[in-house]
């Protein structure tokens, strides 16, 4: 009998179109992604193939989430079909076995659900064949068909996921006999997954998350986290690691649920719900005296527009608000928000204060998602409400106006959506309260709600109602709605339409900043909002004309009926709204297309290609070097206007005369050049390239003066704000922003490997190769790219009276004139031609340390960490001046800027520091060093590494600045921190490196040859140099650095390379450790250390004898990712912890290992709780969990 039910379930479904439609949908989704060059999901990048095993597995894992919706349909159908057709009484009176019925149906649905996912594999097969054939993607993007990955991903993801989810859905369905409850179950599973994602965002919880995630995605991600591109292309998901554990766990849970449900399952039908009000009737009052028929006053009748509106609004709002669906969605949204807030705002193990903008970001994205679901679902419900309840004929025969009822229904929809949003805001404020944050900015919340939420809800609410009315078929209407919500965006992005005037409900996004409020997009947002609101109202009014009053179905009859009852005022409103919409639309169009034209990303790309093709030939044309600059800058914050005049002195440092100057002007850039005794001989208006011919050649050693004029004034509003550096409060721009591009701009070239191939551009080296003999190449450093060496800078800068303007160097003079503040700054020491200008309404905290002014410029709301920042600057300077040498500026400034960017950056003596990091991080109870101190120490270190010595533009250059700065910062931290705390901090650097290399798009290079890649020069640099000082001694490494610095400090070209540093490092490394230089800096070396066994006995003198069996392997990675094992001959630490929390490392010894399998013996005075190899995690080992083991005493 089991087989009867099973096969019947499967065969019936196979005969129906549904399953094929599902398979088709899944296949189409995946196919589109596989053959498109622009869709990058599942971990495709660089050399990772479009159908690499890991990519296949990621697709399968992720699409399983969508697959759940299909699975719900199958399982729910299998469980409830008999009930829905009222067939259960017939079915269950036949002599069938309960378990055969139950499991037969279940297994049938299980098989069907997994079949849907086969669409993924079909799509991969088809995509790999068709994509290259049609030249949609290059043939090199496709690898061999990964059959094993197909099989294993099916067995590891599809089968168990559908089983687990099916068990829950089937259990719910058989228990509650309600489709809604089944879908709620599905939603709960998905929510569980999202919660585990939040968990995984914290590095310490990754292992937990890997087990908690019911889909196994987090487990698989963790297993493959550090896979190199090569491994991604070759390794199929395996029955091992966290993934296997996770799968077994959830399969087991599924089994338990299923058997419990089978046990509870019964053929007898439960009584349908008891009448709730049976007992209540006794309480109602006795019938009153018979009433006389009331006489209706004539005047009260027929003027009921508002009453009708209100009554429709009330009944519809109640029907949404009280519905299970709405309540469940609301609860989900709340759960998700709390979970997001709980796990969010992590930054190197620290949490930010829950400032309002953080809350807004979370709330808005979550609310808009849930409200859109509400809008889609209830737009159908409301439009069909009367008909679904068979009340339409009565209602339609009353003399109310259809338009009023439509308005009221839509209003109730939008209001209920808004209620959801507002509830989330309330939850956000409660969260703030729980965290002791009491600066409730209700106005900010509400403004954000109105501009970001309400407008969107109104537009989509009205438009979805319009769709439902027009389509006049509920489920088709849902389909069309979803099409508009998702597919339209994709379509427009394909055909390169970026104007927000076409993307329904889209407005330029604002981001709230404590410094700068809602920012420069506000005006545009206001106008776009009007445009869309009018569009929404218009579509609603038109919907009134198509409203199916009565029983008319065809559009013609609907029009005919409506016209009879819609009067002049209707058509007047229609005309008025239409005109208003057109007028606002024209205004928006004028501002965003005519006044502020923009290029689409494709156009931009083509320009880049053209630029490279036409002007690459001028890359090495000799140009005079910039030596002196005087800036005259006027900032008008309120008008978002900047005017700048710059006097430049240029000197011919080449050995032959120079007769022309080359510039690249951005075509929309408002820059004018004034070069005496010259004429413009070439100007490419489209690409901005121009050449000035000098009347008399500039002889070697001679100088010339030129002047540039820059003027930026925001006009009208834009489709997307193009200039985020000139702001009402928090202006922050670099010198390069107001100067013309000097010569050919290499940075403008297209860098993506696959795109370059598409445009037939030659392969592009990220950086010139590192070479020892580099006479010409070493004349350029990687910051100013050969256009300047050390420059003198003088700045006259003015701003409004309520702001402070900052330029590099010492402040020589401040005057206040005509309501403006004017400052004169001068750089104390020639520096790199790389600095910023800022203006905002700042508070200033200062401290004098050994003749140096330490200053923090901050927004008054962000005073909390300012003292610690001054401390950090002082500590950094103390260490650096002691170990590296003098500081050449008279001041060190930290300057806050709005959160539109999140970084800190070092310019000579000044360090702009984003509002989003540091200033709002909660440091309460953090008495030790932390990431804020680390960031400051890092930027302070750049005053040496980058601003005193700077690498030639060549591989390895950023090691000399970024890695050294990172190392210096670690040394500042180390002074007040234990080695174990340092290990806790460094794990983020290690993760950054290992993750970064796993998404390497080109090839991985050793630290010494880093090509300006963050994961190597920050992440790996920190780990390697920290380990190096641990092995050779802090003083030795510092001495090497100091000697290197002294040799090259503020030196004219040639600039040093990483090879030059090696010359200073080698003498400081003892012979026994020279191998470290090769392994760590010159090669890519990975370790695999494992502690296999620990045996512990107590000997006769009361001491403990420990025998450790360990495995130590060393591998070297080639740039393409291939791994070769090399014999180990390394010094490695062995340590013993007193506790299982690994907090007290009481014994540590460095031992020499020259065999893969080693047995080591130790005698200790006390019994350790845990033994570990490389306890401080100095060596780069991808799997660290197996480095330690609990110690068990054998009696």
């Amino acid at each position: 009998m089991f087989f009867e039910f099973f096969s019947k379930e499967v065969i019936t479904a196979l005969k129906k179109p549904m399953i094929y439609i599902f398979i088709f949908i899944v296949a189409l989704l995946v196919f589109g992604a596989v053959v498109s060059d622009n869709v990058i999901i599942g971990g495709v990048f660089g050399d990772v193939k479009k159908n690499a095993p890991v990519v296949v597995a990621n697709y399968v894992a992720i699409l399983n989430i969508f697959g759940l919706l299909f699975a719900t349909a199958f399982f729910n159908n299998a469980a409830l079909r008999d009930y829905q057709y009222g067939f259960q009484e017939i079915m269950f009176t036949t002599p069938i076995s309960k378990s055969d019925y139950f499991f037969g149906r279940f297994c049938g649905a299980w098989l069907l659900s997994t079949l849907v996912m086969l669409g993924i594999y079909l799509a991969f097969l088809a995509g790999a064949a068709i994509g290259p054939a049609m030249h949609w993607i290059g043939a090199e993007r496709v690898g061999p068909t990964p059959w094993l990955a197909f099989l294993n991903s099916y067995l590891l993801f599809v089968v168990p996921n559908m089983f687990f989810a099916g068990a829950i859905i089937f259990a719910l369905a058989t228990q509650f006999k309600s489709t809604i409850v089944s879908f709620v179950g599905t939603l709960f599973i998905i929510i569980g997954y999202i919660v585990s994602l939040n968990l995984a965002s914290d590095i310490d919880n990754q292992a937990t998350a890997a087990l908690v995630d019911v889909f196994g995605i987090a487990a698989y991600t963790l297993d493959t986290e550090y896979f190199t591109p090569l491994e991604r292309n070759t390794l199929a998901p395996a029955f091992s690691g966290y993934l296997l554990l996770n799968r077994m766990l959830w399969f087991a849970v599924g089994l338990v649920i299923l058997f419990f449900a089978a046990y509870r399952f019964s053929f007898t039908t439960k009584n349908s719900k008891q009448k709730k009000s049976a007992t209540k009737s006794a309480k109602t009052k006795a019938a009153p005296q018979p009433l006389a028929k009331p006489v209706l006053s004539a005047s009260a009748q027929h003027h009921t527009g508002w009453a009708t509106f209100w009554s429709f609004f009330k009944t519809n709002a109640l029907s949404i608000g009280k519905s299970t669906t709405f309540v469940i969605l609301l609860l989900f949204a709340i759960i998700l928000l709390v979970s997001n807030l709980w796990g969010g705002f992590e930054y190197f193990g620290l949490k930010s204060y829950p400032v309002t903008y953080k809350m807004i970001d979370e709330i808005s994205s979550l609310a808009s998602l849930f409200v859109l679901i509400v809008l889609v679902f209830f737009s159908g419900e409301l439009v069909w409400r009367d008909r679904d309840n068979h009340l339409n004929e009565v209602v339609d025969a009353t003399p109310h106006h259809s338009v009023i009822s439509l308005l009221a229904k839509t209003a109730s929809l939008v209001v209920l959506g808004s209620v959801l949003h507002l509830v989330l805001i309330l939850v956000g404020m409660l969260y703030q309260t729980f965290n002791g944050y009491t600066n409730y900015e209700v106005g900010v919340y509400l403004t954000d709600f109105l501009t970001d939420g309400f407008v969107l809800y109104l537009v989509w609410g009205t438009f979805l109602v319009f769709i439902q009315v027009l389509v006049n078929q509920k489920y088709l209407g849902y389909f069309v709605s979803v099409l508009f919500l998702f597919v339209l965006d994709i379509l427009f992005s394909i055909i390169q339409v970026e104007s927000k005037m076409f993307l329904i409900g889209e407005t330029p996004q604002t981001a709230y900043s404590d410094m700068n409020g809602f920012g420069p997009a506000s005006t545009a947002q206001w106008w776009f909002s009007n445009y869309w609101v009018l569009f929404g109202l218009l579509s609603l009014i038109i919907a009134g004309l198509c409203w199916p009053r009565g029983l008319n179905r065809s559009l013609k009859d609907r029009f005919a009926t409506s016209r009879k009852s819609l009067g002049k005022s209707y058509f007047g409103t229609l005309g008025f709204l239409g005109l208003a919409w057109l007028a606002v639309g024209a205004f928006v169009f004028y501002n965003t297309q005519v006044l502020n034209p923009y290029k689409t990303s494709k156009e931009q790309e083509r320009l880049q290609v053209q630029y490279e093709k036409d002007y690459k030939k001028y890359e090495n044309v000799p140009l005079p070097m910039v030596t002196d600059l005087t800036y005259y800058i006027d900032i008008y914050p309120a008008e978002r206007t900047v005017r700048a005049k710059v006097d430049l002195l240029l000197r011919n440092n080449a050995d032959r005369p120079i007769d022309s100057l080359h510039f690249t002007l951005d075509s929309d850039d408002p820059i004018q050049l004034d070069i005496p005794n010259s004429k413009r001989v070439f100007f490419d208006e489209k690409l901005g390239y121009c050449i000035y011919q000098l009347n008399t050649s500039l002889q070697p050693g001679d100088s010339l003066r030129m002047v540039t004029h820059y003027a930026y004034a925001a006009k009208g509003f834009e489709n997307e704000v193009s200039n985020m550096s000139v702001l009402t409060n928090g202006t922050f721009f670099n010198n390069s922003d107001i100067l013309p591009g000097y010569g050919y701009q290499k940075g403008a070239e297209l860098s993506d490997k696959n795109k370059r191939r598409k445009y037939d551009l030659p392969e592009r080296a990220r950086m010139p190769e590192l070479q020892a003999e580099c006479s010409e190449l070493c004349r350029k450093n990687y910051i100013s790219e050969g256009h300047a060496d050390w420059v003198n800078v003088d700045t006259y800068i003015s701003t409004s009276a309520d702001q402070i303007a900052i330029a590099p160097g010492s402040l020589l003079k401040t005057t206040e004139k005509d309501g403006r503040r004017q400052y004169h700054y001068r750089l104390d020491h020639p520096s790199q031609n790389f600095y910023s200008f800022m203006s905002a309404d700042y508070e200033v905290a200062t401290r004098k340390w050994k003749g140096i002014d330490l200053e923090v410029y901050y927004d008054r709301k962000h005073a909390v960490n300012v003292d610690r920042m001054l401390d950090a600057m002082q500590k950094s300077l103390a260490y650096y001046t002691t170990h590296f040498g003098p500081y050449y500026h008279r001041q060190a400034r930290i300057i806050e800027f709005p959160r539109y960017a999140t970084f800190a950056q070092a310019f000579p003596g000044t360090m702009p520091y984003s509002e989003a990091i540091g200033f709002i991080v909660d440091l309460e109870g953090e008495d030790k060093n932390n990431v804020i101190d680390a960031v400051i120490a890092h930027e302070m270190a750049h005053q040496y590494w980058a601003h005193q010595v700077i690498g030639a533009e060549m591989q390895g250059a950023t090691m000399l600045s970024e890695s050294f700065a990172e190392y210096s910062a670690l040394m500042v931290m180390k002074q007040e921190t234990t080695p174990l705390q340092m290990k806790d901090f460094l794990k983020y650097d290690l993760q950054r490196y290992l993750r970064g290399r796993s998404s390497e798009s080109d090839k991985e290079l050793p630290l010494m040859k880093v090509e300006n890649q963050g994961h190597i020069h920050y992440g790996k640099g920190a780990v390697i140099l920290y380990a190096l000082q641990n092995y050779i001694g802090e003083d030795s490494l510092n001495l090497a650095l100091k000697n290197f610095l002294e040799a090259y400090r503020y030196q004219d070209p040639p600039y040093p390379t990483s090879l030059d540093f090696m010359r200073y490092l080698r003498p400081q490394v003892p012979d026994s450790l020279q191998y470290l230089i090769k392994d760590w800096l010159e090669d890519i070396t990975l370790y695999d250390l494992r502690l296999k066994e620990v045996a512990c006995t107590k000997n006769s003198n009361g001491k403990y004898e420990l025998t450790l069996d360990l495995i130590a392997k060393k591998t070297k990675a080639a740039p393409d990712g291939t791994i070769t094992e090399v014999p180990i001959a390394d010094w490695v630490d062995i340590g013993f912890y007193a506790d299982n929390e690994e907090e007290e490392l009481f014994f540590q010894q460095r031992v020499y290992l020259d065999q893969e399998n080693a047995q080591l013996k130790f005698v200790l005075d006390s019994l350790p709780a845990e033994a570990a190899v490389d306890p401080l995690r100095l060596l780069i080992d991808r799997i660290y969990d197996d480095n330690s083991k609990k110690v068990v005493l054998v009696e």
Partner: protein
């Protein structure tokens, strides 16, 4: 005294069904019964009069209101109880009636409350006014339906198959209600239950296949058949033989055996007894006449 005049009303559905074929009717105050089998076009006629459906051609005037072209005016003075009267979930009887009162133009809040109370009392649901209507029995729902049809001062009340599914007690109560309001206004009662018409209506029409096949008073209809209806109880096996030999207008089971009625100007003999004609005979006679 109102007058409803329907002239040459036609409606054909997109699938080709002729729902109304040259319908002409004239009726005034009082109960008007519209009889017809399922699918005769009764509901199409009712819905067209209730402004819910467009007609292809023809006209309908309620006094001087052009019903087909001025639906809003009709709706001001219309009470309508459709064949299917459903209710919203999560709403009480009083709330539902209040909502419908507003839609019918009763704006004053106090007046509305009085009216709702009055109507609820009239349909004997006052006790249940604060209960969810969704949980009401079929008869109770139908009473809510008639209550809403009485809102305002309708000059035209249309009720479409109102007694289907009601038990005899409910049905009697319903008839009493209708009879009471039917004295002052036009009430059109569409039904396929002959007894409803017999008990209530002063005028009637019979519809079949979209056409009016009889229009007059029930009494006239009966007198037309006087002495022409004959009945006989027969065996089941003889049915076909009788059908070919006589003009059989109906056959039904009486005490477990088939009884046939035949139409004949003279006594057909063969043990047929004369039968007092009833409306059912009228109904079948007219319907079969058309089909024959």
């Amino acid at each position: 005294m109102s007058l409803l005049k329907i002239t040459n009303l036609n409606k054909t559905y997109p699938n080709g069904t002729q729902a109304l074929v040259d319908v002409n009717l004239e009726l005034s105050n009082g109960m008007f019964g519209l009889l017809g089998p399922n699918g005769a076009g009764k509901s199409s006629l009712m819905r067209t009069l209730a402004t819910l459906q467009e007609a292809d051609s023809g006209s309908a005037f309620l006094d001087d209101i052009d019903m087909l072209n001025n639906p809003q005016a009709v709706r001001q003075t219309l009470g309508y109880l459709p064949q299917e009267f459903g209710v919203y979930p999560r709403i009480t009887a009083a709330q539902l009636l209040d909502h419908l009162c507003i839609l019918k133009g009763v704006a004053n809040k106090n007046e509305r409350r009085e009216l709702v109370d009055y109507l609820l009392q009239k349909v004997n649901l006052y006790e249940e006014r604060n209960k969810s209507v969704k949980g009401f029995s079929g008869g109770m729902k139908q009473r809510v339906g008639i209550a809403q049809a009485l809102i305002g001062n309708p000059q035209l009340i249309i009720v479409d198959e109102p007694t289907a599914g009601l038990d005899p007690g409910e049905r009697n109560r319903f008839h009493n209600l209708l009879a009471e309001v039917g004295e002052e206004v036009i009430v059109i009662l569409s039904t396929h239950i002959v007894d409803d018409v017999k008990e209530l209506c002063t005028h009637m029409a019979i519809m079949n296949l979209g056409r009016i096949v009889y229009n007059g008073t029930p009494a006239d209809a009966l007198s037309e058949l006087n002495g022409k209806v004959w009945r006989k109880t027969i065996e089941r096996s003889e049915k076909e033989a009788y059908q070919s030999a006589y003009h059989v207008i109906s056959d039904k089971m009486v005490a477990g055996r088939p009884q046939i009625h035949v139409l004949s100007e003279v006594n057909p003999g063969n043990d047929f007894e004369e039968s007092e004609p009833d409306l059912e005979d009228v109904f079948f006679t007219h319907i079969h006449a058309l089909q024959a």
